[in-house]
């Protein structure tokens, strides 16, 4: 009973997170200005990281955790680099 609940809850959570990634992708494609697209990219990678965590719970393997940590680290660097580019016109001064 509780196992079925957990399976359904994980499946629903994955669908919700995929919808959230779709919303972020739509924001990247539609966003009227560059900063909207950067905010969409930021949301997209956080949602992808959460989706990987739910995959990790569903499969019972801790391997997905490493990928999620890498996405969190590199996504932060990417967003900051893009925001710096918008601010100055060059990434490294």
């Amino acid at each position: 009973m509780s196992t079925a609940l957990l399976t359904w809850s994980l499946a629903l959570a994955q669908i919700f997170l995929e919808l959230a990634m779709g919303a972020a992708l739509l924001c990247i494609l539609r966003g009227p200005r560059a900063q909207d697209r950067v905010a969409g990219l930021d949301t997209l990678y956080v949602n992808a990281m959460l989706l990987l965590l739910t995959y990790g719970i569903a499969s019972g393997s801790t391997l997905y955790f490493e990928a999620a940590l890498t996405i969190a680290l590199l996504g932060f660097a990417g967003t900051v680099a893009l925001a710096k580019f918008l601010l100055r016109g060059e990434v490294i001064e």
Partner: protein
Amino acid sequence: MNEIAELPAWAALVTAILVFVGATVTLIGSFGLLRLKSFYERLHAPTLGTTLGTGCIALASMTCFSVLQTRPVLHEILIVVLVTVTTPVTLMILVRAALFRDRKENASGVPGRDAT
């Protein structure tokens, strides 16, 4: 999928509720990113997903693996700390960039240099 079947009922219930709440909050935040009007309003919405969503799902993962392996598995705290620390930094730099660009174009509804 067989590892999940070995979870005791209470742990499965806690994990299920935490995962579901985290995913729902993240979805609400991402739709807020689409629906709100100005850029400065829009930037507030996805923080729901980055704080509450990450916290809930990481807590669910910690509960699940700690019960499965009968030892504390706490490495998801790394992700929570990383995301909690980096999100404000990202958003502040992004808003500074947006403010800089808006002022350069003399857009309406943007505070001038004296107001900050």
